[in-house]
């Protein structure tokens, strides 16, 4: 496992893409959050507004996660990987761990940057010393990590970057958009409570969360776990 981790880390740092995508995550999250905090007139929930950039910042995270394994299928290096590390569960775990670590670091930078931007823009900014704000911030980092794992799982299952990116972005953004048109509040709540993005980002609310914040994050975790499990089982069962 240690060796597989070392190899995955070397893989990531010997190409330029992951670094740019992680920087993109930080930049997109902070920039979008800064715009939101500067245009919003009545921030009912300053923490949530400051962290709204995660809506956009999660996209490069998802792309990075998909490319981590989808890129190997694209170039064929996945066979080399599995020749070097024949136990496939180890390969997937090593990728998941490496990815989680990187996204956690980038996510923390993104969240801290967004809070600082919010501090400049909002009349009544949030402070990390508040329990709910701390929860929202840590929860957002955790959320980004879970989205990365979801992407990794999906891409492992479909073995193609483009398809994987399409599926993950659809999974993320479809419910926030579609639920606007769902007339019945019961259905609307149901959809928002089971979709990975709307449920998981409930953790950002500090005033009036639409659902229990940790339960929401658990829904996202469920998606990530299901995707990783499906991907892992297929990786185990299929010829490489």
């Amino acid at each position: 496992m240690r060796l597989a981790l070392h190899a995955e880390w070397t893989k990531i740092r010997t190409v330029a893409g992951p670094l740019w995508l992680l920087l993109g995550t930080v930049a997109a999250t902070v920039a979008f959050g800064a715009v939101a905090t500067s245009v919003v007139t009545d921030p009912g929930d300053p923490t949530k507004v400051a962290l709204v950039g995660a809506d956009v910042g999660q996209a490069p995270v998802a792309v990075l996660a998909v490319l981590l394994i989808g890129g190997e299928y694209g170039s064929g290096t996945v066979r080399t990987t599995l020749t070097a590390v024949p136990r496939r569960a180890v390969v997937l775990t090593a990728k998941a761990v490496t990815l989680s670590g990187l996204v956690a670091v980038a996510g923390t930078a993104a969240v801290l940057g967004s809070l600082v931007a919010g501090r400049f823009n909002l009349p009544d900014p949030a402070s990390l010393a508040d329990g709910p704000t701390l929860r929202a911030s840590a929860g957002t980092v955790l959320y980004l990590v879970l989205i990365a794992l979801l992407g990794l799982g999906v891409a492992t299952a479909v073995r193609d970057s483009a398809t994987g990116i399409g599926i993950v972005l659809a999974l993320l953004y479809i419910v926030p958009i579609v639920s606007q048109t769902i007339g019945d509040p019961h259905w609307q709540h149901l959809l928002q409570h089971i979709a990975p993005m709307t449920a998981g980002l409930a953790v950002q609310s500090t005033t009036d969360p639409p659902m229990n914040p940790w339960a929401g994050l658990a829904v996202t975790a469920g998606w990530a776990a299901a995707a990783l499990l499906t991907g892992g089982l297929l990786l185990h069962a299929r010829d490489a």
Partner: protein, 316 residues
Amino acid sequence: MSPLQTANAPGIVVAGLRKRYRAAPALDGMSFTVRPGVVTGFLGPNGAGKSTTMRVILGLDAVEEGSALINGRPYRRLRRPLTHVGALLDASALHPGRSGRGHLLWLAHSQGLDARRVDQVIEQVGLATAARRKAGGYSLGMRQRLGIAAALLGDPPIVMLDEPFNGMDPDGIIWLRGFLRSLATQGRAVLVSSHLMSEMQDTADHLVVAGHGRAIADAAMADLIAAASRDRVVLRTTAGADATSVLIRAGATVAATGRDTVTVSGLPANRIVALLNAGAVPFSEVSAHRATLEDVYLELTREAVEFHAATPGAPR
């Protein structure tokens, strides 16, 4: 060899592999052995199961029946597998944005090896000048060299290369031929697949010929050549038709093999000379036939390449 010896045998032991893709059998009882100190050539028409066998040996593809063992153990159970087997399957399988050295570096790290070993193999395959460039810009020959470097990384006792001569320039081919020989001389087991007959004939000591998902030959190169050359005589004559009728009447099998040459089997050379002289058939040369690998291959796979004539799934 007894089963116990087989299980512990050094090298690769492939036994009774069976695998289907949808309905069509891809492997149908593939069995052979790759021994240390010997270059084993792996020949066969497309679709005969060569690449599938190599992927099965490396634990990439699963089989329904049979086993492929590396020094007595299945590949997936090896710790630091690249120190047991080095393999080159698809030289183009590279991340285009990663340097050749970066590619070898992550492989090395996966086996607990360090950057010094990476630089050694880069030197060994003659890729030192290009190693830090992005692999996306490599020529096919450079990719082959990088793939070979990857196979050598763990200093493995077994080396397995799929079509390593592809895309190599003449210098590269000469280098690779000598290189493979030297690997065997060092006592390593070497399995090389190639469709370049002449390269194989000059390089391999032992030959496995695949057809219909089985090994239809598994023998020393010298024996196969000798067997294919057996009691055949090449006759050079401008009167091919006359010669043929005279010799067939005497019980020989005659096949036209060139513009003014025929190959005769079933009769010794001195008898042929006597018959031709008696029939007043002119000829310029009678010589014992020396088979090439191509002859061996064509003879062995004649049935295999005519796969369209056989009903799939029919008893063999």
